[in-house]
Every structure is written in C-alpha cells, then in structure tokens.
Amino acid sequence: MSVTAKTLCEDEFFYGHKACAGCGGSLAVRVALKVLGERAVAVLPAGCMSAVGFNFPQLCFGNNAIISTFAGTASMLTGIEAGLRAQGITDFQAVGFAGDGGTADIGLQALSGAIDRNDDILYICYDNEAYMNTGIQKSSLTPFGAKTTTTPVGKNIRGNLRPKKNMFEIVAAHGIPYAATASIGYLNDFLRKVEKASKIKGTKYIHIIAPCPTGWGTATDMTVEIAKEVVDCGLWYLAEYENGVYTLNYEPKQFTDPAEYLKKQGRFKHLTEEDIQTITASRDAKWEQIYKTFQIN
C-alpha cells in the first residue's frame, strides 16, 4: 500500500518559507520531500521555490538543498548523483524542483540530456503555468487564452495565443523509465507517484499542476479546489508512462463545465464564448487521443 496522510513522515523539510499564502508549488515541494525523506538532495533552479526557500540566513529546507543555474537543474542533479555515488554513498535521492519555465523552456535541453544518459534522478516540475516569480510572464506551458504580463488582453489580442506544450509526452517520447502527471488537488495520487518513482532506477519525471493564487487571480483558499477542478473538467489528466505504455490513472465519469473552471480565475475573465468553445474543442480532441493510445486504469 502506498503512503497516505496517516503514514507520511511527520517531519517537515520545507518550513517557514516565504511563498505567498495558498501557494500550490510549495505544497508540491513540501509533500514530495515528506515522501522522499531526509536523504533527498534537492536542486532548485531560479524560480519561486528557490526565491522563497533561501533568503539568507532564513534557510527553509531541512535536507540538503542547492540552487542551480536556471537552465541546469537536470545537469546539477546528474553531477550530485555521480558525485555522491563516487563517494560510495547510496542511500539518497537526487531530486529537482523546477517550475514550468525552468522545465519546458529554459531547462529542457539539460533535462533531455539527463534522460538520454538515463541518470538516476527524479525531476519534478511544478507547473503554475507562467513565470510567476518574475511577475507572471508567459511560458510555453501557459494555456491558451491566459492573461499574463507578456500576453495582455486588449482590443486585438485576448491573452495567450498558443496552446500549452505537451511536456509529459515530450519527456515520455525519450523512452524515459518513468514519467507521470499529477495535480495538487489529488495529493494521494501524487504521493503514490513520488514513492513509486523513488524506487525506480534511472531518470524519473513528474509533472504536477500547482495553481498560483497571485498569477491565476484566485483566492488563496481556492488553490486545492482549482487544482481538483482542472482535472475534473478534463483540461488536465492524471497519467503515467512506464515501459513504453501510457496509463490513465483517473477517468472523470462526466466532465464538469470548463467555463466554470475558467471563469473562477482572473487570468481568464476576458474569454468570450468563442474562446471557451476553442478550449473545449481542444480538450475533446486531447481526450480522443487519450482514449486511443492510453490504457485506462
């Protein structure tokens, strides 16, 4: 049986940090470290979690943690893993926590290289769908229609013009030993995936949706509900990739209305009926592909 709230390690390894109230990213980091335990060596590139975790002398990680270059999360994980192994240390897990920008834009090359070498590392991408730390700029994981400071809303353009990059399947296409998607709205699923990943040798990748109240324009207490709703309305899915097979972990019986999910957020307030139909159509196309190529759990 996988770890649950009752059996989870009681120690906190990410505590006293300066993340905004209701931060989804910090919840993902906190919970993942509770699963991995004290012997996790964390690597954090430039991004929210390094900005809120390391304000000298306020150092909020209880385990070993280091800030890497923005592009070099996976490279530094490789180095840490190789260095500790060379010293004869075996009971550790090198884990990286990068945001969506640090994974899908800036750190993609280093991540691709690490997967290619099949280094024994765990890479967790907490996806808040824009560069939140620097003031909400668009990344390649920002969804269609979202308002950011670099995709503003005006007379001619209504937010982001491009769809969200399919990072999970890009990583899986490398033939990685283990990749998964998750949401902070479904933490038991995430706990199970982190635990499973920590026992697999080779490169592991987990992509977790982590809403950001500041950037998404939601109330601080809505973070978890929004993360649940994005899965329930079908705009995100919980899946795994292992041994060349995609598996869907959770199939909503009936999708909730995406318009309701979108209208709760300040970044989507401007969307027209037509925009919402575009989003719903792309969701349906995605699920058609999921039903064709994924095994349903």
């Binding site: 709230a5 906190e12 505590y15 109230a21 906190r30 150092l59 909020c60 385990n63 933490l187 973070t223």
Partner: protein, 96 residues
C-alpha cells in the same frame, strides 16, 4: 529535520560564511505577521482525518493527541485547511 527558529541572526561580515553554504533549516523570522485571518480548530468536531495536515502548503498543521494543532508562528492564514475540512471543524477568525 524540521527547520526551526534560531536565536542568533548572522549580521556581521565575520558571521557570514565565505563559501556559499550554510546550515540547513536555519529560521530567523516568523510568518505570523502575514495573516489577517487565522484558522481555529474545533477540537470536538475534529476526527483526525489529517486532510488539513496533508494539504497545508506551509506544513504548519501537525498531529497532536490523535487530532491536529496549528503552529501560529508560521501560518499565513490562506484558508485551504478550512476549505478542505469536510466536517467544518476549522473556522477562520479575524486577527485582532
């Protein structure tokens, strides 16, 4: 190890390490001042399901006597615990 508050705050140049490394879990400030509202647990209604403990982004809810308690030094008052509690055992009260 859980990070904890220390008494000593390094300020002078001689107290700051030359190498860019420092002790893990070294806290010198609280986050309590961020809060306008505070969660209060109704001990009679709480059944210790631990969902608030699991979903707290700051990890300030901890197990105590089969139920839960809150570390108000670091709670930011986001209100996720109140939303997650199915029994309605957590209320948000204004800070005075």
């Amino acid at each position: 190890m859980k990070p904890f508050l220390r008494e000593k705050i390094p300020v002078a140049l001689s107290e700051i390490p030359e190498t860019p490394a420092y002790e893990a879990g070294y806290l010198v400030t609280k986050n309590a001042g961020w809060r306008n509202i505070r969660p209060v647990i109704n001990k009679e209604m709480c059944v210790g399901c631990l969902q608030c403990y699991l979903y707290c982004p700051d990890g300030v809810i901890f197990k105590k006597d089969g139920k839960v308690a809150i570390d108000y030094d670091f709670c930011k008052g986001c209100g996720i615990c109140k939303r997650i509690c199915k029994l309605g055992a957590i209320e948000m009260e204004a800070e005075k």
